[in-house]
Amino acid sequence: MNPSPSQIDFRTNTQQVSRQMVTSVRKATTRFLGTRAGVVGQVANWEELREAGHNIRLHAINHLDHYLELMERRVTEAGGHVHWARTAAEAREIVLSIARQHQVKLVVKAKSMATEEIGLNHALEAAGIRALETDLGEYIVQMAGTGPSHIIVPAVHLTKEEIATLFSEKLHMDAPADPIRLAEIARQKLRQEFIAADLGISGANFLVAETGTLVMVTNEGNGRMCTTLPRVHVAVAGIDKIVPDWESLTVLLKLLARSATGQKITTYTSFITGPRRSEAEQGPQEFHLVLLDNGRSLALGDPLTRETLLCIRCGACLNVCPVYNHVGGHAYGWVYSGPIGSLLSPQLLGSKIAGDLPFASSLCGACGDICPVKLPIPQILLHLRRRVSEGDEIEPAISSRFARWGARVGAIVLTRPWLYRLTCSLLKLVQVPFRRDGWLPALPPPLNRWTMSRPLPVFNARFRSWWSQHQSTLKRS
C-alpha cells in the first residue's frame, strides 16, 4: 500500500470498482453483521459496555501524555526498548535500523494497520530485507500486490479461484480452488518462514500503560508465531492504542471481538510485557515498541476530532455503512476504509489529499449507532467537511471558489424571503423547457448530477397561494 497517496479521488475510484468486489464485500459485511447481532444480543448490558468503553478510551486519550510516559517507563523496566516516531518516515527508519543492527534477512509480520500506514514492507524490501505478511488474508493480498479491501478480511474481494491461480503462479505449484486446501498450503509455506525469520513485526490492539503490556488479538496464530519464534520482536503502534490498565480490557476486549467478527473472544489474545526474562525461557530476546504519531497528535487538538482516536479498529462501521457496501475498501484510496477511513485519512494525510472522504457518506448515522466505543462518526465527518469547505484552526479551506460562491449566494437568497419567493417563481418558469410529464428527466449542469441518476420532480412552489386562499376560506366560514 502506498504510504503517501498524492490525491484520493473518491469518485474516480468508485467508478473503477468491479461488481465482484461489491458482491464479495457485501457477503462479508452481511455475515459479520449477522454474527455480531447474535453475540451482542446475548449481552444484556451491551449499551452499558459501550458507554464504559467510550469513557475509558476517552479518559486514556484525554490523558495521553501521562499514559504514554507510563507505558514507556514500564516497557523499559521490563527490559524492552521504546522508540518515538513523529512521522511514517521516522518509524520506517527506526525499524530499518533495528533490522540492520541484527543483520535481518527475513521479517515475518502479523497483521498491523500501523505498519500498512507507514508503508513498512516497501521500505524493508528496498533495504534488501524480505518482509512477509503472515495473516492469510494479508499474505494473499501481498502476493496479489494490492491493498486490503476490508480491515478484518483483507482479501475478501478475491475468489478462491483467483487465489488458487495466484498461489499456482507465485508458489510454482498446482493449487486447488478450495479454501481449506489453500489455507493448508499457506500453513506449510509460512511455517518454514516463521522458523527461518530473524525478526517478527506486529502491531498492537492495546497498549496497557500500567504494566507496559502489548495486547494483540488474532485468530490464526500467525501473530503468536511472529512474536514467539524470531529472536527480535518489534511492535509498531499508534500512540492512540494506549489504555490505562488491565481492568480497562475487561470492557474493551468484550467489545472488540463481538463487534469485529461476531466472536465472544478471538482465538488468541497475547499479553506481552517486554522480552523473555531469562535464557531458559522461550520468546524473543529483544522487544522494541515504536510509538507512532504520524498526525495523531494533531487530531487531539479539537475535542471532537480527538474522539477519532477512540477507535479500536473493529470494522463494524464498515460493515454497516451503505456507502462502503457499494464500493468496497479500495475506493477509499489508502489503508483505512469505510467511515473510519473517512475520518482517519483526512486527519493523517491532510484534507488536500483526502478531503474527498468526509463527503463519501450519506450521513445516515448507522456507523455511529454501531460503534462499540460510541465514536460520534457523523459529527466528526461534519467537522471534517467544514474543514474542507471553510477551513478551521488545523487547515485552511480547500473548497472551490465556485462552491464557496454558491454557498454565499444561497445564504443571501435564503435570508431574504422576497428573494426566495422570487427564486421559487423563477425556477417554475425556467424549468418549462425541461418538463416532461410532471418530471424533469434531464437538467443542465450542475443539476445533471441529480438527473443522471433519477428525474427530479417539477418545481411546484404553490403552497403560499394555497395558504392565502385557505385562510380566506377559514375566515369566511
Binding site: N45, R187, I239
Partner: protein, 212 residues
Amino acid sequence: MGDSRETILGNVRGALGRAPGAPVSSRPPLVAARVPGSRDAEIDRLLSEISALTGVARRVPAGQMDSALQELVHSQSVRKATLWSTSRLEQLGLVSRLGSLGVEIVSPDAGAAALADVDLGITEADFALPETGTLGLFSSPTQPRQVSLVPRIHLAIVHPSALRADLHEVFAEAKQRHYMVFVTGPSRTADIELTVTIGVHGPKVLHAWVVD
C-alpha cells in the same frame, strides 16, 4: 530520537492543554463482574463453550487418564509429543504414560523446526474462563511458549482450581506476569471466501481435559 519523544509529548500536551505532570483523574468505572455458577456448572459451561469452537473438551477422571491418552494417541496418530514440566503435569506422570503408548517425547527446547514435526503439545491451563471457553497460559522456563503453538495438536490440562469467573479475576492476578496467552479453541481463519478453516497457523486440534 530524543527530539521526537519531546516533540510528540509536547504536541500531545499542547493539544490537550496539559502541563507536564498534570494530574490524572481516575479511570472511569467498569462494568460489574460476572457472577459464577456452581463449580459443576462452571465446568459444564467451559466444556460446552470449547466444544462449540470445535475443541475437544471433556472431564477426565484420575483413573481414566491412560485410556484418554490412548484414545487421543490412536485417533490422532500421535508419534511425538512435547510438554510443559509443571508440577501438576509431572504428578500426572504423562511422560511415562505416553512412553508406554510408544510416543516419543521431544524436548520443548528442541527448536521450532523440530517442534513443527511434533504431533502433540501438552500444557496446563493457568486460568480457565467458562464464559468464553478460554484457557490462559503463562510463560516461564517450565512453561515454554512454543508447546501450545507449534505442534499439530494442543492438549491443555485444566484443574478446577484454574477456573475464574471472568476477566476481572484473571487480570487481577495476571497483570503481575510478563507474558500470558489466551487460547479459545483451535487456530482458525475465514480469510478465503469467508469459509471457516480450522488450523491455519496454530494447532489444528485443541483438547481440553478437566482433571481433578
